[in-house]
């Protein structure tokens, strides 16, 4: 293949690629756009079919009402604090666990890993009552700390499982070289393994933040103090009484606002999906 034809093929492929991707993207975001449209529609108690993407009399009233109805800014801050702290701790602890699984062979390795897997599999609703009683006995009811502890615990297994795969890819040559230089295990974990696993850490951060940000059932169960409410509870309070008199516009306005931090976290961390760290360092 001559250079010019190859370039032409590349351009053709690039165009096709973009058309396919954009068409797919449109399909992916249509429901979200509908949600945004409804959030600007006045008095929408009933979602009409087929969906209307352009509201007839657009209004900001739903946003004003959502912000006015409750102490949304406070709940927003609560959620932000809980999700940020939980994510940081969870990613730290689980990357340590993942490092142990990825880098060491030790008695009980498989058993411990399987216990973690079981923790992922058991339906969370069946743990609600035992966990509630436990939280009561250790004084974690009705506090943001109680959310953090259980959010960290709940996300450990998934993150460990995810990061284990990434940490295994740390080239053995580099690890051994550092070991020769007298670096201890913590240093090799902190200075070598973690930086090389950046895409994995970024993924874990994005998912954990989303999970903590969206969590509802546990927060509803243990939080009574209105000042300690998180955003999902506030949104659920707006969505209110079954199918009776739900003002979808207000609910969706609150939901749209709630999505923003998750998108920001995603944008910030997806930049860490950088090509070539591993392969460049070893083979290059």
């Amino acid at each position: 293949m001559s250079r010019s034809t190859r370039r032409a093929a590349g351009i053709g492929l690039g165009t096709v690629r973009h058309v396919v991707l954009l068409a797919g993207a449109l399909l992916m975001i249509a429901p979200f756009l509908y949600m945004v449209a409804i959030s600007f529609t006045p008095n929408s108690y009933v979602l009409t079919t087929p969906p209307q993407f352009v509201p007839e009399n657009p209004t900001l009233g739903n946003y004003a009402q959502a912000l006015d109805a409750q102490d949304i800014p406070r709940y927003f801050v609560n959620s932000l604090v809980v999700a940020t702290i939980s994510t940081a701790i969870s990613v730290l602890l689980s990357s340590m666990m993942a490092y142990a699984f990825a880098r060491f062979r030790f008695p009980g390795r498989e058993v411990i890993f399987r216990i973690l897997l079981v923790g992922l599999m058991i339906p969370a609703v069946m743990l609600l009552i035992p966990q509630f009683v436990l939280a009561k006995h250790v004084g974690l009811l009705d506090s943001l700390g109680g959310l953090v502890v259980f959010y960290v615990a709940g996300s450990l297994a998934l993150n460990t499982f995810l990061l284990r795969g990434f940490l295994e890819q740390t080239p053995a040559e580099l690890d051994e070289a550092m070991q020769m230089d007298g670096a201890n295990a913590w240093t090799r974990y902190w200075r070598l393994a973690l930086p090389l696993a950046k895409p994995g850490l970024a993924t874990a951060t994005i998912f954990t933040f989303l999970a903590c940000w969206d969590e509802f059932a546990w927060a509803l169960t243990i939080i009574n103090d209105p000042e300690a409410r998180t955003l999902p509870i506030a949104i659920r309070l707006l969505a209110g009484q079954g199918n009776n008199a739900v003002q979808w516009g207000v609910v969706f306005a609150a939901s749209v606002m709630a999505v923003i931090p998750v998108i920001v976290v995603f944008l910030v961390f997806q930049r860490h999906f950088v090509q070539g760290l591993v392969s460049g360092a070893v083979k290059g």
């Binding site: 969906p51 602890l93 399987r114 035992p130 436990l134 007298g182 930049r271």
Partner: protein, 316 residues
């Protein structure tokens, strides 16, 4: 704090065991346990201990109130599940969901990740668009999909206008078409998630091998088979196992799209279990179903992990 003590311990332990194949004999390899300790202690107290209680509940006609005497039933709750037609119906629907949602999520997620991996000026923008379904609340999208699949919804309207069908399918009124609609939501919401994992994993594909393969005259498909797939093996294992777990735990979408109806025909294991537990206060029987579900998923997951094991015998 555990972390600093770990650091001190690790410093003293200057010659720690090396990476995988070289298993040097040590009397007591403390380092890995120290790395595991903080996380696993928390996990043991807040997750493992409650799990043992859930297992205990499944052996009783469990009365939720502390102090109330619960009747010990042994394995009767498990026997009841095996003889319960509705349990099997829910199980069947769960398996349908599993088969209908997992392959598309893996294939589409990987295809989109491969397409989005290549450099493009609008790459971050496109990534956000594909990720949007993942961050949109399950409640909201379940309600939206219920309207899409309604008798007079967009799906029927599209099928009707293009003449593919008469446009008069009552999707949510029948077991299999209802499960199909629920599965469509699962795929739509899940593609962005698996895409993310694959995108992250693709960063670890050795560029040098890719170039070497190109020089050797390997075509796209051959390079994908020989270089890319082996490099993302661990991610593939993670995605498949997580999707199986996720499929067995499908709940909100079913709850909100069909409510398990009509006449319970689209119930999945979790909607049935939730109704038993919090609706009918049958916590013992509900827990038994939860335990069965967990065992089934565990067996499936371990089988998958074995399947993905590489030549060195290392489980991803």
């Amino acid at each position: 704090m555990t972390i600093s003590s770990l650091q001190a311990r690790a410093a003293a332990d200057a010659v720690a065991p090396g990476p995988r194949p070289r298993t040097r004999r040590r009397r007591f390899p403390a380092t890995p346990y120290l790395f595991l300790l903080p996380g696993f202690v928390l996990f043991a107290v807040t997750v493992v201990y409650p799990i043992t209680q859930a297992v205990q509940m499944s052996l009783y006609d469990w009365r939720i109130i502390g102090g109330a005497t619960s009747e010990f039933l042994g394995l009767a709750n498990y026997a009841r599940a095996l003889g319960d037609d509705h349990f099997w119906l829910s199980f069947g629907n769960t398996v349908f969901y599993l088969i209908a949602t997992i392959p598309p999520q893996i294939v589409l997620g990987l295809v989109v990740a491969l397409l989005l991996h290549a450099r493009s000026p609008i790459r971050p923008f496109l990534r956000v668009l594909y990720y949007l379904p993942v961050v949109t609340s399950w409640v909201v999208v379940s309600l939206l999909f219920r309207f899409l699949f309604a008798d007079q919804g967009l799906i029927n309207w599209t099928l009707g206008t293009t003449g593919v069908t008469g446009g008069d399918t009552s999707w949510l009124a029948d077991r299999w078409s209802g499960m199909l609609a629920i599965s469509a939501l699962g795929v739509w919401k899940g593609v962005g998630w698996s895409m993310m994992i694959f995108l992250a994993a693709l960063q670890g594909v050795p560029q040098s091998l890719m170039e070497a393969a190109t020089v050797d005259g390997a075509n796209r498909w051959q390079r994908f088979r020989a270089v890319t797939l082996p490099a993302i093996r661990a991610a593939m294992a993670f995605v498949t196992v997580m999707l199986v777990i996720g499929a067995f735990n499908v709940f909100i979408s079913v709850y909100l799209m069909t409510g398990g109806g009509p006449a319970g025909r689209t119930d999945v294991l979790l909607t049935y279990m939730y109704r038993l537990a919090f609706g009918d206060l049958e916590f013992g029987y509900g827990s038994a179903i939860a335990v069965i579900l967990t065992l089934v998923v565990l067996v499936l997951s371990l089988a998958q992990l074995r399947l993905f094991r590489d030549r060195d015998g290392v489980t991803p």
